[in-house]
């Protein structure tokens, strides 16, 4: 192999301690790593997705029948992870504290990025910088350029239709913040991407714009060469595993799209239900005004329906803010993965074509020329990187969806619990015998 990438190839082992709670997340209930982190009932009340995650089993070991809640099995899995990976976490990144900036030319939001690291690549142990969306966008583009053989996590959607969504509303900003936090955490967890120099600059530079202007050419050699792969070669034999990944991604994206549509439809129906409820409750109040002995019970029912309406509104808001964006993110993710797969196909195609050209030249001792070797290099690197990333992605996907769907179930449970409480509390009122007036 002629000169691999600067770092050793990432191990194909899956996540180790990826989902440890951030030591600086600042919540009082934060436990020490490896401790009793049983899943909290409200998984999604944490500020960002990764924060209160359980230490989940890696892809290699079977999940087994032990429920994640048992702390001893937790400890066992932790140790297993430790053995397999041999690394300890040494980089923590968080996105928080959104602030609005009003300038003459424009208004925009910045987010605080807090970095803590013991890595040598970082001069200081701790950094705190402010970044805006276009900075993230820049970072992602740079990563795509410089690490074309890897899967780069997606960013939340760039453009927002003005007038439809309020870019500065609390809900929108919070949803975006969560997505940006997730984005950086995914990069942080990536054994190759997290060492990328653009990433480093993003996390540490006081003045990012100056760096942007310098246009650092920090492409890896493989990256550089892949960038210049000519298109237009026809692929002969896509290796089975990549064909399978491609098919999987197609179906996966389709199913996610369907789920997105269903979720949207549910929210729409729930909102229409809410509209009717908001008319229904007050009619009991109107009736109550006509009655004597029935006045209190009727008023009570009216208030009860009001409480249920509020609970429903909270449910729909939560689903809109927490559920749908993550779903969409994964759709974007699989789209970007498809394009990486295409690039890989291109690299392979070019190699095959060149190889064929050599074979056709009919030399007595066909010596594989240097550039064909380079092609082969490229292809093999690409394949290896991609495979590793795919496995990592599969694992993350499983954890993410597990959390997402459990969250959805949780929200519905909470909604019903609120309603239950409202109706149960009204029963004594209804049964009470009225004193003679």
């Amino acid at each position: 192999m002629s000169g691999g990438p600067p770092k050793a190839l990432p191990s194909t082992g899956p996540q180790s301690l990826r989902d440890m709670p951030h030591p600086l997340a600042g919540s009082s209930s934060e436990e020490a790593v490896g401790g009793d982190s049983t899943p909290s009932p409200d998984l999604l009340t944490a500020r960002s997705f990764g924060d209160k995650d359980l230490i989940l089993p890696n892809g290699g070991t079977p999940a087994g029948t032990a429920s994640p809640a048992s702390s001893s099995s937790l400890l066992n899995r932790l140790q297993l992870d430790d053995d397999m990976d041999g690394e300890t976490r040494d980089l923590f990144v968080t996105v928080d504290d959104p602030k609005k900036h009003v300038c003459t030319m424009e208004t925009y939001i910045t987010y605080r990025i807090t970095t803590k690291s013991t890595r040598v690549e970082f001069d200081l142990p701790e950094y705190s910088v402010r970044r805006r969306y276009q900075d993230f966008d820049w970072l992602r583009n740079k990563l795509e350029e410089s690490q074309p053989t890897h899967l780069i996590p997606p960013l939340p959607e760039k453009f927002v239709v003005k007038g439809v969504v309020d870019r500065f509303s609390e809900e929108f900003v919070e949803t975006r913040r969560k997505a940006l936090d997730k984005f950086l955490k995914r990069i942080t967890d990536h054994p190759v991407l997290s060492f990328n120099e653009h990433f480093n600059v993003f996390l540490t530079a006081k003045d990012l714009n100056a760096h942007k202007k310098q246009g650092m050419a920090l492409l890896t050699r493989v990256g550089e060469s892949v960038k210049h792969v000519a298109g237009g070669y026809k692929l002969r034999n896509r290796p089975l595993e990549f064909a399978a990944i491609g098919e999987y991604l197609d179906t996966f994206a389709l199913k996610l799209g369907t789920i997105d549509r269903i979720a949207q439809r549910i929210i729409k129906e729930e909102i229409e239900y809410l509209v009717e409820l908001r008319e229904y409750g007050p009619v009991y109040s109107t009736w109550s005004a006509l009655e004597a002995e029935l006045a209190e019970p009727l008023e009570g029912v009216s208030a009860c329906i009001g409480n249920c309406s509020t609970a429903l509104e909270e449910l729909t808001d939560d689903m809109t803010e927490d559920f749908l964006p993550v779903l969409r993110e994964y759709i974007l993710y699989s789209d970007s993965m498809k394009s990486v797969l295409k690039k890989r196909d291109q690299v392979q195609a070019e190699y095959e074509a060149k190889l064929e050209a050599v074979a056709l030249r009919k030399e007595e001792r066909p010596k594989v020329p240097a550039d064909v070797e380079k092609c082969q290099d490229r292809m093999e690197c690409f394949n290896a990187d991609l495979k590793a990333d795919m496995e990592r992605w599969q694992n993350n996907k499983r954890q993410d969806f597990r959390q997402l769907l459990m969250g959805m179930a949780d929200k519905n449970i909470q909604y019903y619990e609120k309603c239950l409480m409202a109706w149960e509390s009204i029963i004594p009122l209804l049964q009470e015998k009225q004193e003679a007036k």
Binding site: F252, K255, I266, E269, V283, R398, I413, E424, I427
Partner: protein, 450 residues
């Protein structure tokens, strides 16, 4: 039942209960004589009905419904539903019930019975029938009268009607009602023979009285107002409730789609597959649970509907009062006019304009004999009028007293029933919430195993 019921005709005449006030009572004293606290314990016809047939301990049920075809009045074929009414008497000693009567009736016969009761007991808030046509339906519910769910709910409503009549202290003693339960053939003829349709007050007369009455009892004015408002608010409530049911149905059913897509998705997954698949199953359970939930809620809607229709029965009593009162006022007016006329003739002074007076002026005085004759006639009429006024006065007060007694009874019944309805509604909601929690907890469990 061996003992014959008293003739319904007799039940109409009021019993003499209190002495009248002085004969030429002015208009004022006829009105608003409330007999506070003098609520009768038993039926208004107390003294006469000692050995009535009484429903010792009777169980009535409308146990079945059957589709029938027959020929109607115009000899055209029609399909209708017949309902089986079973009556059981409960022996005191051992509590066992014996089937005493069973016959089939159709809805129109129930209507006939009710119309009869309305005419003969205008001071009673007569229990309403279940609706003739399905109203306040939400989309899944059929508006078809032949729909089995509708027929079933109607069966329950008809049974409820009979039970209400049977438990009413006055209505339960009615002979026609008794025959309705016991005499299958010929009942229609028997009812019609009472000639109740002729005795019914014409709509026009009632409307006229409503507009022209000057001094109805204040309580009845309030009651009429209340029943209007009640009707309006319950209608509104039922309409919105139907829309709410519609929307709720939509929410639940869409979740069923999750079942399908999770299943499809699980096919391409390895570790996630099982969890997704089983969660999908719970989503299906969730989606199908709404059918039973909403069916139960229809019972609540039916309870509300009964009181919606009761509002109309209340108004009917108010209308009768207005009629009676107007009748009284008119009679008093006529009497006063005649008295004045008489006085004028006697004294020769003409205070009010009269055609006779005019013609007399124009064509000359009438002879003293003629005048005497007229005075005599008027005095006769006045005497008659005073008698009539006396009895109308009495009638009016009787009506007010008896009607108000039944209205108080009704109010208590209403408060009790509606409270019970609200409680059962709350219980339904609680059950729905618990089911929801159960399903989503199960789904969450499945997701956690992904």
């Amino acid at each position: 039942m061996e003992q014959a019921a008293p003739d319904p005709e007799r039940l109409l005449q009021p019993a003499p209960l209190e002495p009248l006030s002085h004969p030429d009572a002015g208009l004022e004293s006829m009105v608003g004589e409330e007999t506070k606290g003098a609520r009768d314990e038993g039926p208004g016809d107390g003294t006469m009905t000692e050995n009535n047939f009484s429903l010792k301990k009777i169980e009535i049920s409308v146990s079945e419904a059957e589709k029938r075809t027959g020929r109607n009045a115009m000899n055209m074929q029609e399909t209708y539903t017949a309902y089986l009414i079973e009556t059981r008497s409960v022996e005191h000693s051992d509590g066992q019930s014996v089937l005493t009567d069973s016959l089939w009736r159709r809805y129109s016969e129930f209507e006939l019975l009710r119309n009869y009761l309305l005419v003969y007991y205008p001071h009673i808030v007569v229990p309403p029938l279940p609706e003739k046509r399905a109203e306040f339906v939400w989309h899944k519910l059929s508006a078809d009268n032949m729909d089995p769910d509708f027929v079933e709910r109607r069966r329950i409503g008809l049974e409820n009607f009979l039970l209400r009549v049977a438990s009413h202290p006055i209505l339960c003693r009615d002979k026609i009602f008794y025959l309705f339960l016991t005499q299958e053939g010929n009942w229609k003829e028997t009812v019609n023979e009472t000639g109740f349709q002729l005795k019914a007050d014409s709509r026009l007369k009632a409307l006229n009285a409503t507009f022209r009455v000057k001094n109805p009892d204040k309580r009845f004015i309030e009651l009429k107002h209340y029943s209007d408002e009640l009707q309006s608010v319950i209608s509104h409530l039922l309409r919105v409730r139907a829309r709410v049911a519609d929307r709720l149905y939509g929410v639940y059913k869409v979740h069923g789609n999750y079942g399908r897509v999770f299943s499809e998705w699980s096919a391409i997954e390895k570790e996630m597959g099982d969890g997704l698949q089983s969660a999908g199953h719970h989503m299906d359970v969730y989606a199908s649970s709404i059918d039973d939930i909403l069916e139960d809620e229809e019972h609540y809607a039916d309870q509300l509907k009964e009181y919606l229709f009761y509002a109309e029965a209340l108004r009917a009593v108010c209308r009768k009062h207005e009629l009676t009162q107007y009748d009284l006022e008119t009679a008093a007016q006529d009497l006063a006019a005649k008295k004045q006329q008489c006085e004028e003739l006697a004294t020769g002074t003409v205070r009010t304009f009269s055609l006779k007076g005019m013609t007399t002026k124009l064509f000359g005085q009438e002879t003293p004999e003629q005048r005497e004759a007229r005075i005599k006639m008027l005095e006769e009429q006045i005497k008659e009028g005073e008698q009539q006024l006396k009895s109308k006065n009495l009638e009016g007060r009787e009506f007010v007293k008896n009607a108000w007694a039944d209205i108080e009874r009704f109010k208590e019944q209403k408060n009790h029933d509606l409270k019970e309805a609200l409680i059962s509604y709350a219980v339904m909601q609680i059950s729905m919430c618990k089911k929801g929690i159960q399903v989503w907890t199960n789904a969450k469990e499945c997701f956690s195993k992904m």
